[in-house]
Symmetry: C2
Subunit: 568 residues, 2 copies
């Protein structure tokens, strides 16, 4: 097999790879043959009659059409460097975290950052996640902003519509306005959805509004109903179970679903991989490799109408992956636009550098340092029930709970009831009062964690065993202008996320080590969860049930209204 390396930024001459098993996405099989290519594929010679041999397997580069770069706390530039070795050559990103923190202008600057991977974008459709009455962010994204974003050529979808209540209401509302604007500006372009547990006529109404995909956790029953109703399913890693894979193995369903990553934290990205990790799970659960590959290449390309990629065929981008075998899908090398960009053993052969960032993006935590007195935990003395958040450990679900307390006056010693202090400090320059409450299943060991990466509005979320530790943690995040502070009696660790308070400018290898520290700290302090860091960060997300905390107060998610923990 002859090949010559061409750096990505130089003129690619015509290359040829011979004696390979070449993926045939039409027949979902491999044909023995050779391929000629420049930046795009020129010719594929498929030798149906040839005997074949022990060659490598050539497949299209992986396409991840539902994901959030900021879940990896990094830039498109560094994300691209991180995922190329995993075979991902195209992504469609919904950057709603950056949109919450910086609005449309900052979002566009983030989207304009360079990358080797082709990055397309879905417009964030729920910014803020609820309303400015229930949480504070940089500002709402409404129809007008959507219209402006539609003018970009790299915008090819409307990002996940989550607010079924808006969709189903008769009245005018932001969700409907955004959908109407998008349909008008980009007719025929896909509208992505998020509809866990929606079924029957409600599901039909959801789909009829134009939202016809879902990437939430599936079951065999939800797959049958949603796909039969015309939905396209994006299967993320937590959905990859034996039941789900068995349901998706029906040959008719090729093209009705794809695999995606949604959220991959930086340490998991470094440790377990990207879309390739999801594919390995599917393979292990019994899906044929040819079908797994289809669902990571051709199928997502069609969903997003990216007709110039996703198959090994003339005229398509020369984005491909060479595999050692089909049992493990182990990646030997990766080509982007016809250039070899990764090779086993040598590592990444082309890397994009992050350009200088505007100062405002690195100074975005607009808040004066706190004092302990600003926490309003005063209670009249006597016996009473207070409302507390009770966190589930296996999901991101939280519940309303009552705690019977006997308060003797002065400071409220919540630790004796096994409660942790949880608070949100607004960071957009309004110097709003601190919102604080109490939580069950928080920390079991003395300490405080404060993070400016706190979904979706990214105010300063702090969980602590005392007000004093909470103040130290928050003030550290303010002083450093964004990041995650881990505070113990005698020790402090700080993970910088200087870009908007949510994004690191370190290489992913460094960042992943730092984030591993956060995970270890949470586990050490008794915070148990399936995904500790994400679980913590969504305690401030007032759209996932049922009792969350924002910079405006405790939020009853189902009723979408504020709750007074002292008197309710």
């Amino acid at each position: 097999m002859g090949r010559s390396f061409q750096p990505i930024d130089e003129q690619v001459t015509v290359n040829k790879l011979e004696n390979l098993w070449i993926y045939n996405s039409a027949y979902q099989c491999f044909d023995w043959g050779s391929i000629t290519f420049g930046p795009t594929i020129e010719h594929v010679q498929r030798d149906y009659e040839a005997p074949g041999g022990g060659g490598l397997y050539l497949i299209p580069g992986f396409i991840d059409i539902h994901m959030h770069i900021e879940s990896s706390m990094t830039t498109p530039t560094e994300f691209s460097n991180a995922v190329l070795p995993h075979g991902t050559t195209t992504i469609v990103a919904d950057c709603h975290e950056v949109a919450n923190v910086f609005g449309v202008e900052g979002l566009c600057d983030y989207m304009d950052l360079p990358s080797l991977v082709d990055v397309f974008y879905a417009i964030p459709s729920s910014v803020p996640s609820t309303s400015m009455e229930l949480e504070t962010n940089f500002g709402p994204i409404d129809a007008e902003q959507v219209k402006a974003l539609c003018k970009r050529k790299d915008v090819i979808a409307l990002g996940e519509i989550m607010n079924a209540n808006d969709l189903f209401s008769e009245s005018d509302n932001r969700t409907k306005r955004i959908i109407d604007t998008f349909k008008d500006q980009k007719p025929g372009f896909p509208i992505e959805g998020h509809c866990p547990r929606i079924t029957g006529e409600m599901l039909s109404r959801f789909i009829a509004s134009g939202v016809d995909s879902d990437h939430t956790q599936q079951t065999a029953a939800s797959i049958r109903e949603k796909i039969s109703a015309g939905m396209f399913l994006e299967i993320q890693r937590k959905s990859v179970s034996k039941e789900v894979i068995d349901a998706l193995k029906a040959p008719e369903l090729a093209g009705r679903f794809c695999f995606c990553t949604d959220d991959v934290l930086p340490d998991m990205l470094a440790k377990e991989g990207h879309l390739d990790a999801v594919l390995s799970d599917a393979l292990r659960l019994g899906m044929r490799p040819e079908q797994v590959i289809y669902a990571a290449t051709y199928s997502p390309s069609r969903r997003m109408n990216l007709l110039d990629r996703g198959q090994i065929a003339p005229g398509r981008r020369a984005d491909f992956v060479l595999l050692d075998d089909l049992e493990t899908l182990r990646i030997r090398s990766v080509y982007k636009n016809g250039s070899l960009v990764y090779e086993q053993g040598s590592g990444l052969l082309a890397r994009t550098k992050l350009p200088a960032l505007k100062k405002e993006y690195l100074h975005s935590i607009h808040r004066m340092p706190l004092t302990a007195e600003q926490f309003d935990l005063s209670l009249e003395s006597g016996e009473r029930d207070i409302t507390v958040i009770e966190r589930e450990e296996s999901t991101t679900f939280t519940r309303f709970a009552k705690q019977h307390i006997h308060h003797g006056g002065g400071g409220f010693s919540f630790r004796q009831y096994g409660l942790s202090l949880i608070a949100v400090v607004e960071r957009y320059g309004h110097e709003a009062p601190i919102i604080s409450a109490f939580m069950k299943n928080g920390l079991t060991k003395e300490g405080a964690i404060c993070s400016s990466w706190a979904h979706d509005s990214h105010n300063l979320l702090v969980l602590a065993t005392s007000v004093e530790l909470a103040v130290r943690a928050v003030n550290r995040v303010i002083a450093e202008q964004g990041g995650i502070a881990l505070v113990d009696e005698t020790e402090e660790t700080f993970i910088p996320l200087p870009y908007g308070g949510i994004i690191s400018i370190e290489p992913i290898a460094v960042l992943s080590g730092q984030i591993q520290q956060v995970r270890t700290w949470l586990v050490d302090h008794g915070y148990q969860a399936r995904e500790e860091i994400m679980n913590f960060a969504v305690l401030s997300l007032p759209v996932s049930p049922e009792l969350k905390i924002s910079d405006k107060g405790l939020v009853d998610v189902r009723k979408q209204q504020l709750v007074d923990w002292k008197n309710q």
Copy 2:
């Protein structure tokens, strides 16, 4: 099964059809259930656990994405009335005959005619079929006209690219300009192709230029090569053979091909049907009904990115067909936009009327009457070989042939050699000299046929056994301003096609009887062919091999140059 009829032009209230087998395009099966709909489908209740019963079969309306309305010699309005009873509810038409006759303005007026069926359009990409040097039409369609047509919302594709020579040449040319303009104006929209017998690297170059479908006649080998190379195949009736159906039955190929009609003459439309006739053939040759239906509904809708139709799912157009059974696909009734528009027994329940047409469209044969003297058949006396057209009877192929003659001076008595006179008379107002030549396998019985429906430039094509009969036939077409004249010694029949000389304004039932007369006349006069009328009309089409006649002269199709029959 309860249902209530709503006329198409009134407000459709919510209807419900119960106890049906409902097509599930995702699983390619039928589910027992019920459907609620207004103009669009509101909800589909699929009762997977229900026992089912002997109900009707509900499937999406048929979608024909490669066809030419003018092959049926009618308007979108009347065509729509004609095909609704056959279950066709959406078409994508490439109206290159009207474009040849009237240019862009006339094309747009034709496209604007009302219809019950949803009519989308592909831009004619080869007008004229060759160049103004080789044939005369109203005028060429070039990049500028394509750009103008791209502004229409009902334009969703670029019509069949036929000129591989242009595509493969290095130089600037009309085909490349048109493709580039279309890609720029309508990125992501399909570009349709016409590439019989193109294979290997040539096929790769064809596809790499962006043309990725083909609707010409296929074989098992061409199917494997073209589909593997990323092409979408549109299978017309003449392609439906046992070999082709066997090749397409592989379950992986669902979504890689669809059925289409291309050209259906009016009498065949009335006698045998529309897309439903193609489906019946496929069914008879052993394709499963569920797969046949898929290839006439979901598959073509996706190829054309018509995401609002092609499946029985919420939010999609309530366009559907009720079948009595799956063995014959016999149509019980047809719904368009939620209204019952056809019912077995009752016939068409809604009909659109053709509006008044601009006078210029009904007076378009710009030619003075002929005299016999205008035919230049003079030959020097003596022995010689002359070049004649030899027509194949089983295809539309013609060959160069030599005829040895002994000419004694005066009028040339070609009948003694078994030749017919063939001539083309320019009709766009230039009063160009008449082009005449001779043909083998023409008429065996005395007579003349002249047609202004003569592809692609639609000059006046006449085939005759004498100059005198030819003159009578041509002059009748000129006097009547378009149509087909059938002239015998003592009798004349005239079929009016007053709209541009190619289109009837009669209902299809009347027209089909008239066209049947033409077919009978041709057969009676010894003109044998698979499809007599089309076979005759393409004798003037200088892109199908190998020797044709235009208003400019005899055309050597392969060399694309004019030939002198007297001296070559």
